[in-house]
Symmetry: C2
Subunit: 205 residues, 2 copies
């Protein structure tokens, strides 16, 4: 059985393949609806309808809409961190890890286009969940940066938390501009400039 | 008469000092409410109550709640850009402009603590308004970066739009972490590390 934190919200863990598929249909429907019209404007009936299941089926897995929202946010955070971890595991340098990390985030955002709506609406729905989403990502990011300081790749005179939040900010805002506003994948030359900024800064020496 | 873009939302421009004060009370009440419980959960009666004016007074200035929301977002954007422009006008280098620009944004966020709730809820309320808020700020930022490339302060091999969105991202996420999550002013040493990252990058040479 899957012990990931997001599963804490589940009333019952699916016991069959068919149950897993049903849970996934409910989650996907919620992601689609929360990520377009939003949590506040979405009902459990809407979610069940989008998943093509009876409203009663919803209550096999979740106590209420809030519980599903928390499950979804925690699952997005877990899935993103897992994809990042897979993407960087064979990299030989911290710089390559950053490069593949940024690419992975952009690909994730492209596949989860409602991400910013869902996460930032959590400011209202459940402020601790919102904070926890970014803090969990930042803490794991800062841990990797610290390791790269210890092996001499990243400068030691920068607080790893400051670097982590700075890089997270770059990632999120570059994704916001190119993927969400301009509705296209992040061009290679944009990623190249981003990497150049985090490596050497933007100012002339 | 004030020709700022945000005034386009006004049904009538206040003609007396007292009228100006009333409009300001309504705007402040809206900022406080939209920035805590949110646009969706706030009624015109709540706003009038918070401003200590009769509901009818609201309709002297605004057609509806959406119109006030647009006025508020555009006013926040205008006010922020004006504060930034004043803060950097006597700086002798682009680096100093960045330093005072970051400080000014942090101070603004500290005085407008509902900013992120208001701006990111605009994703649902009025997606073009949301996009316009960041695009307007980024375009004016990129213009200054371009000027600093022309005089040799910022490297010419970076797209100014990429630098602008990267710096905006850093600014927003450092503010999110220290001011909103940790509920304190951004410490001097955090700003020093941020400046070091944008100047020289984070990697060892």
């Amino acid at each position: 059985m899957n012990q990931n934190k997001y599963n804490e919200e589940l009333l019952s863990f699916p016991k069959t393949r068919r149950g897993e598929e049903t849970l996934e249909k409910i989650t996907n429907s919620a992601e689609q609806l929360f990520g377009s019209k939003g949590y506040t404007n979405t009902s459990i009936n809407d979610i069940a309808g989008g998943a093509d299941v009876a409203p009663g089926t919803f209550y096999i897995y979740f106590k209420d809409k809030l519980s599903l929202f928390r499950y979804l946010v925690n699952k997005l955070e877990f899935t993103l961190r897992k994809e990042l971890s897979v993407a960087i595991k064979d990299c030989e340098s911290r710089f390559d890890q950053e490069y593949f990390g940024f690419r992975t985030f952009f690909s994730f955002l492209n596949r989860h286009r409602g991400l910013f709506k869902i996460i930032w609406e959590a400011q209202f729905v459940d402020p601790d969940l919102f904070k926890n989403y970014y803090e969990t990502i930042a803490i794991s990011y800062a841990r990797r940066i610290k390791a790269a300081q210890e092996n001499g790749e990243i400068r030691k005179n920068i607080d790893p938390a400051v670097a982590a939040y700075s890089f997270l900010g770059i990632c999120n805002f570059i994704g916001l501009k190119w993927i969400i506003f301009d509705d296209k994948p992040v061009p290679d030359e944009v990623l190249r400039d981003v990497m150049s900024i985090i490596k050497d800064g933007a100012f002339s020496v």
